[in-house]
Symmetry: C2
Subunit: 245 residues, 2 copies
């Protein structure tokens, strides 16, 4: 596959800047990506000129620039799934009193593209733009179970309940497909349970996943049946609406 090296390097730098906790130095970029210090300097200058990076004049370090926010808005406002799903997310929150999420597949991970906060919890910090692994989240399992993605070779662990065995995961996915919803039972975050169901387009292809998440104390195992009924029903309603579009 042919690539443009310098562009690829620039994009890798953007990724670095996104993953860094605070601003990072030229040399940090150069050593991390194994490129020349001078080259890194030029690349970051170019990114700055277009607003994708920003230079902190005090520390002479770089961070992400405001241009990326513009791009993100442009993408999100143009997603038909997001627009259509909005009222369904609200409905889900009303009916379950839990936080509702909408996710799609993006580069082998779940990308949270919308969220409606529960009235109970003040702030659940899984904002729009958050990405999580597929094998240990309800939204991700949905994408796996209905064939939007295939099981990744590396199943990293997050909690004691995280499924790291591919065969066990395969069984879990089959169960998921049979019952129509996926369950994340504290497999990604301690104390958090999530339930999710697939959203299909007019051809019957999975285009996203819709779900709720809440503290394990409230999303008790004996309530899963009742809650999953709501999730499945609303995901189904959304799918129907997506088909008539």
């Amino acid at each position: 596959m042919r690539q443009i090296q310098s562009l690829a390097r620039g994009l890798k730098i953007l990724d670095m800047l996104a993953n860094a906790h605070d601003s990072i130095s030229i040399t940090a970029v150069a050593t991390e990506l194994q490129i020349d210090k001078g080259s890194a300097s030029l690349l970051l200058q170019t990114l700055s000129n277009y607003g994708f990076a920003e230079k902190d004049m005090a520390t002479r370090q770089y961070r992400l620039g405001p241009a990326v926010v513009r791009l993100s808005r442009s993408l999100l406002t143009k997603m038909p799934l997001r627009e259509t799903a909005k009222p369904f997310l609200h409905q889900l929150v009303r009916e379950t009193s839990e936080c509702a999420h909408l996710g799609v597949l993006a580069q082998g991970k779940v990308l949270y593209i919308d969220q409606v906060e529960s009235p109970e919890t003040l702030r659940v910090n899984a904002e729009v733009g958050f990405t999580a692994p597929l094998h240990c989240t309800a939204l991700g399992k949905v994408l796996l179970a209905w064939g939007a993605a295939s099981i990744p070779e590396e199943l990293s662990g997050y909690t004691a309940r995280t499924i790291f065995d591919p065969e066990v995961l395969q069984m879990d996915l089959e169960k998921t497909r049979r019952r129509g919803y996926a369950l994340d039972d504290e497999e990604f975050d301690y104390g958090v349970r999530c339930i999710a169901s697939p959203v299909f387009d007019y051809r019957g292809k999975v285009v996203g996943a819709l779900g709720i998440s809440g503290p394990a104390a409230r999303v008790r195992l004996d309530r899963i049946g009742e809650l999953s009924d709501r999730v499945v029903a609303i995901a189904k309603a959304l799918s129907d609406k997506m088909s008539f579009k």
Copy 2:
């Protein structure tokens, strides 16, 4: 100023994709940016490989990819101004019943980095990531009046009330500085009035603007005094909090 050409081209393509209403073709990119068709193809392939662009296999056209959403989230969650301002935005909505916005300077424009919707209006579609010109928005005028940016040479018109004369604008900015808040009286959108006030950091430098906006029928001219009092007071309170950080 030295630049990396191919990276610059890639970033320009991202900008094009953001501004386009729907997906665009390789040739459209090539003609717009005056580059070779083959080069454009390679650039877009590279952007795709890193998730910054996405190819619609059916139409063979490209649109923005999900990676930009991740980047945006990374930037927004790391902005101290945004975190600090959140409760003040809510307070502003509570006290005025209008939609509250938080903006910063980005590439010679105002970038809306946060928003709290009014309980009255169902959906004001100025979401996070929206950019607007400085000279005809309340947030923008604040940034101009307190020296975050200088008056652009091109003052494009949006409504009949848009100020396009630099001298008139200069006078408006002086008035703004004197009274402590900026007013956008249907200068950007017909039927919309906005009031905004500056947010300073610990050195007294403007780092952003805080304001409200609502329908002209509700934000009447005889209520400006009362409303601007709230905006000025809360922006002041936010500035104080920013200083103690």
